[in-house]
Amino acid sequence: MSREQYQIPTGSQQTFTGGAGNTAATTSREFDTGIMYYTCGDCAARVPLEKGAGIRCQKCGARVLYKERTKRMVQFEAR
């Protein structure tokens, strides 16, 4: 993908194919539905949460959820 083609993904966008790194499990659909995914602090499951939903893991009921890591590639100097 060239630099010009690349657009920062937003919720309204229909066809999003990911940032520089395409390895994350998130697909474009997930953005359309307005559902955000979180990681359970207890069982590490991916928890989908809708707007206004109770903050709770559906699998184990834990109430600590973490934000997922960015899907973008991050560059570091090995120094």
Binding site: A20, G21, T23, A24, T39, A44, R69, M73, V74, Q75, F76, E77, A78, R79
Partner: protein, 374 residues
């Protein structure tokens, strides 16, 4: 002024650095023309060829030890400095992290990756790989990345539960797959002519495959690619080809007056094993007048056998019974080098490269001086 030649003993005395209980003496070299009246210390390559000696003590790929004898500290030190700071190696320089859900932070992980020593085919590293040139203004850094200056690597590991693990298993390495991420998990991605130069056993690989990079738990993932460049130790220590490159001066231990019996045993204990040996005073020695051994036949005396093993702890100078009986020192022109390689170079090749580097430096500057005059 008439030329005169000092006696052997005088020359021997001049090259000893004195080591006393609290002080050191005669530290600087004095072998310059005009320093000693009437003596000739002018530069003479024949003298250098005659006096310079090298003796190996150990020569393994990872560690070499040898004595460089007969050169000045300024030359020996130049070699040491060049080995540490100017001999190029390749190391990971940039890390592109797609995903890292491990407990180790991105920047710490990148730093750890940079410090891992890598090796590969010598032919490829020496003759094929070149420096990464600076990009021209307004051009991105990647514009100068080519197969002859950039090496790509990848590290993609996900930790999962091991379904075959025993019920009561406690060891995370058996309980999970990829609980530990090691240097051997890094994959070399050859590009262009690298396929030819770094094929088979010449592949770019970590010197020590079992370096632990990170620990994972099920569900955690490290997913990144890296690039390596050539660099030198003066830029960053990760580029230094040596773990240590150091020299020490050969210690000298001179027993001025005999140390006998109980004293001799205690004297030997002041030094590491193998430095001092206890020998019996022979009848001939005891019979010789003025030797200090009169009437001590078949008693034990202390004899210096291997001063190289001494650490110059100066322990013997702390005891009154050895006062005026022993003199410690170091030989100013005997450098015991010890070179530990990080694995990319053979340890002895690093020293040879440092010699070549100094010569090349001098040659280039000689040309520069000619250009300056013009």
């Amino acid at each position: 002024m008439p030329r005169k030649q000092p006696t052997e003993e005088e020359l021997e005395r001049r090259k000893i650095v004195g080591v006393n209980a609290e002080t050191v003496t005669d530290v600087t070299s004095t072998d310059f023309p005009g320093n000693w009246p009437g003596e000739d210390y002018a530069w003479d390559i024949k003298k250098i060829i005659r006096d310079t000696k090298i003796e190996f003590h150990q020569n393994e790929p990872a560690e070499a030890s040898f004595s460089l004898i007969g050169v000045d500290a300024s030359i020996a030190n130049a070699f040491r400095r060049i080995m540490i700071a100017d001999i190029p190696t390749i190391a990971i320089e940039k890390v592109f992290i797609d995903n890292n859900t491990s407990v180790i932070q991105d920047e710490v992980l990148a730093h750890r990756l940079g410090l891992i020593p890598f090796t590969g085919g010598r032919e490829g590293l020496d003759n094929f790989m070149r420096w990464l040139p600076k990009p021209k203004d307004n051009e991105p850094i990647e514009s100068t990345y080519f197969d002859y200056n950039t090496i790509s690597l990848e590290l993609r590991v996900t930790c999962t539960h091991n379904p075959n693990a025993a019920e009561d298993e406690k060891d995370p390495r058996k309980l999970y797959n990829h609980a530990h991420v090691y240097a051997k998990d890094i994959v070399f991605m050859p590009v262009g002519r690298q396929v030819k130069y770094f094929a088979g056993e010449n592949a770019i690989r970590p010197v020590n495959p079992d370096i632990l990079i990170a620990k994972l738990r099920p569900g955690q993932q490290i997913d990144l690619s890296m690039i390596m460049h050539k660099g030198v130790g003066s830029d960053h220590a990760k580029f230094s080809p040596v773990a240590t490159a150091s020299y020490r001066l050969l210690p000298t231990i001179t027993i001025l007056r005999p140390i006998l019996g109980r004293d001799a045993e205690n004297f030997a204990k002041c030094f590491p094993q193998g430095v001092i040996r206890l020998e019996k005073v022979t009848k001939a020695e005891a019979a010789r007048e003025g030797s200090g051994y009169e009437g001590h036949a078949s008693e034990l005396k202390a004899v210096v056998v291997n001063p190289m093993l001494d650490t110059v702890s100066r322990e013997c100078l702390r005891h009154d019974e050895f006062k005026e009986k022993v003199k410690l020192g170091r030989e100013r022109d005997h450098f015991i080098f010890n070179i530990e390689s990080t694995g990319q170079w053979e340890s002895d090749a690093i020293f040879l490269a440092s010699i070549a580097h100094l010569k090349e430096k001098a040659r280039k500057l000689e040309q520069q001086v000619v250009d300056m005059v013009r």
